[in-house]
Symmetry: C2
Subunit: 205 residues, 2 copies
């Protein structure tokens, strides 16, 4: 791609560093900014810079936060004895949206994935194991993606804390609400039969 | 969407102002920046700000440029007597990529589209008409999109300059190279028969 302006070229190159944004999309976005008032671009870039410079990670759960201890960890109404282990902040937001969990979170920051060069020491696993061994947690819920990497990470953490006196569970795998059985994949359907649940619990939901 | 951090929320809101970027995509991009070194975000936002603040539009053709007169307009090897009228800078880049045009461009900055509230006075049509009336241009090539809006814009400009002694052409509409006839739409196929070209020209290509 040949540009008539170095400034434009630099902006497009920087934008296209972002994941899922190619050169053409970057050019479209940058040309859009040129059509908008200058203040929009200034405000976008200031927001990005101040976010990157000032954002903190909660010292307890590693969630993104503006202060040392995030809103969830510092909320006295939440049950400190149940901890839900998630991959990243988007999972925290997704679970918070359901309003069905009143415990705390622990954000790992990813999952073990040798293919991407991510080992256990790149994640916040040690601090979780330490918290569990200190004995204040009664139940740990694994809420990682149902993939090979997610299962590996679950198993790695499980091996570290299996001697502790603690309930370990994972979120239920099964048929999504509203799904047609005939389109469900075999593994999910098979597991949903193995892990069938008493009918009265269903009625309560 | 509930955020655990105001800084994050502001960055996501700003990013999601861009066209085609929803809140979820914006969050993905912003979280990616958080995983990258701080310098990446600083460099992105500086590039955007300096682009928005310092970019110029060529005073002759209205193309984006770092200087008063763009590289194409100031190139003495280009034919000043043929001007190609295009919608925006992306079209200039696309035509330049073909290396088949050695004249100058005139960038309108859009096309007449009453539905989007864009009238002839929002575009750089006056300066084009003025250039044509000054008499230095011998041929004008319309290279706008083949849509209702593109045709309207072509016709509007044509009405303003029809009395001038100048050749006016549009780029050829027809079957794309490599296309199967059976999948071509009726209008394109019909026009390509009406506007058929002598066979020897084809051989030269």
């Amino acid at each position: 791609m040949e540009f008539s302006s170095k400034l434009l070229e630099r902006a497009v190159n920087e934008m296209s560093q972002l994941p899922g944004i190619g050169k053409r999309t970057a050019l479209r976005l940058v040309l859009h900014m040129l059509k908008q008032p200058k203040e929009h671009t200034v405000s976008l870039s200031l927001a990005l810079q101040s976010m990157r410079a000032n954002i903190k990670f909660c010292k307890s759960c590693n969630n993104i936060s503006d202060v040392e201890l995030c809103e969830i960890c510092s909320n006295p109404n939440r049950n400190e004895e149940i901890v839900c282990v998630v991959e990243d902040i988007r999972d925290v937001m997704a679970i918070e949206n359901t309003s069905s969990f009143k415990g705390l979170y622990h954000v790992l920051g990813g999952k073990i994935s040798p293919m991407d060069g991510i080992g256990p020491h790149d994640l916040n696993i040690e601090s979780l194991v330490k918290k569990v061994k200190e004995g204040s947690i009664k139940e740990l819920i694994f809420a990682l993606s149902s993939t090979m990497e997610g299962d590996t990470t679950n198993f790695y953490i499980f091996k570290q804390i299996q001697d502790c006196d603690i309930i370990i569970s994972t979120i239920a795998r099964g048929i999504s609400v509203g799904d047609e059985l005939e389109y469900a994949d075999e593994v999910t359907l098979g597991r949903s039969i193995l892990n069938r649940i008493p009918f009265e619990i269903n009625l309560k939901m």
